[in-house]
């Protein structure tokens, strides 16, 4: 009973955060701020759903897979955001009201012309 309640809440919260991550892509003003939504809310959403899957089935193969999925998400989501964000910045995508540290341009490999 309590386990069922816990599973339902985890899955619903996971779905909610996945929805927010998707909505964030539509609503937020520029590409870098959108990356905040997809990495953070997206990772938490998948983590919550995998938690429910692992706790719900409870057998070793499923738990092992759920843990592996979460670990790989934690490793790859920030790396993906970093690559997309850097590529966007280098190719000169307009940024929304962003103050840019003068050193950041050279560090990111953008030539001033």
């Amino acid at each position: 009973m309590i386990l069922d309640l816990f599973l339902a809440i985890s899955v619903l919260l996971g779905g909610f955060f996945a929805f927010v991550a998707g909505l964030g892509i539509l609503r937020l003003p520029d590409v870098l701020i959108r990356m905040h939504a997809t990495t953070k809310a997206g990772t938490l959403a998948s983590g919550l759903i995998m938690l429910a899957v692992g706790a719900g089935y409870g057998d070793a193969p499923t738990v092992a897979r759920a843990v592996a999925i979460v670990v790989f998400l934690l490793i790859t989501a920030p790396v993906g955001a970093h690559m997309i964000g850097r590529a966007a910045f280098r190719s000169g995508v307009p940024l929304w009201r962003t103050t840019i540290d003068p050193n950041a341009k050279t560090k990111l490999g953008v030539d001033d012309d």
Partner: protein
């Protein structure tokens, strides 16, 4: 490291003796073994810093999950309310982390914690460029990362 192996051995022994060779059984065995080793600590003489390291890893994991939840809620708030509160900025932050593994862990965790997203690391691993949602005070931001996530990672990895 040998204390860690001993702890693993105790976990396997616990699982074998209770007949529950499952993930849960192994986890309970590891916990019980850790407690037992902690109690008989003086018998080892030199244990290195195994117990403090385990403690610091647990601390890193717990704090990280807390920060992930906080950041997701704040992102959700920004997405669902009509006004955008963000005052974004690109900020350079000096890194103290040593070695590529530490830098990888720090940058990944920074991306998943509130208000910051790592964009790039300088090739010499000394400077990190981050995109911050609230970049009014870059120095304050650099300080909070240095005393927060980066310090926890360095304590756990050292």
């Amino acid at each position: 490291m040998s204390v860690f192996l001993l702890n693993l051995l105790l976990a396997v022994a616990w699982a074998a003796l209770t007949g529950q060779f499952t993930l849960g059984g192994l986890a309970i065995g590891f916990g019980v073994g850790f407690l037992a080793l902690w109690v008989i600590q003086p018998l080892f003489g030199e244990t290195g810093n195994y117990f403090t390291r385990v403690w610091r890893w647990v601390k890193l994991l717990v704090l990280f999950h807390y920060e992930l939840v906080v950041s997701s809620v704040s992102v959700a708030w920004d997405v669902l309310t009509p006004r955008h509160r963000a005052r974004p900025g690109l900020v350079c932050i000096p890194l103290k982390a040593q070695g590529e593994a530490e830098v990888l862990l720090v940058t990944n965790l920074i991306s998943l914690t509130p208000g910051t997203l790592s964009l790039d690391v300088a090739p010499d691993c000394k400077t990190l460029v981050i995109h911050a949602m609230f970049a009014d005070d870059p120095d304050e931001l650099a300080r909070s990362i240095e005393n927060g996530m980066e310090r926890w990672v360095r304590e756990a990895m050292e």
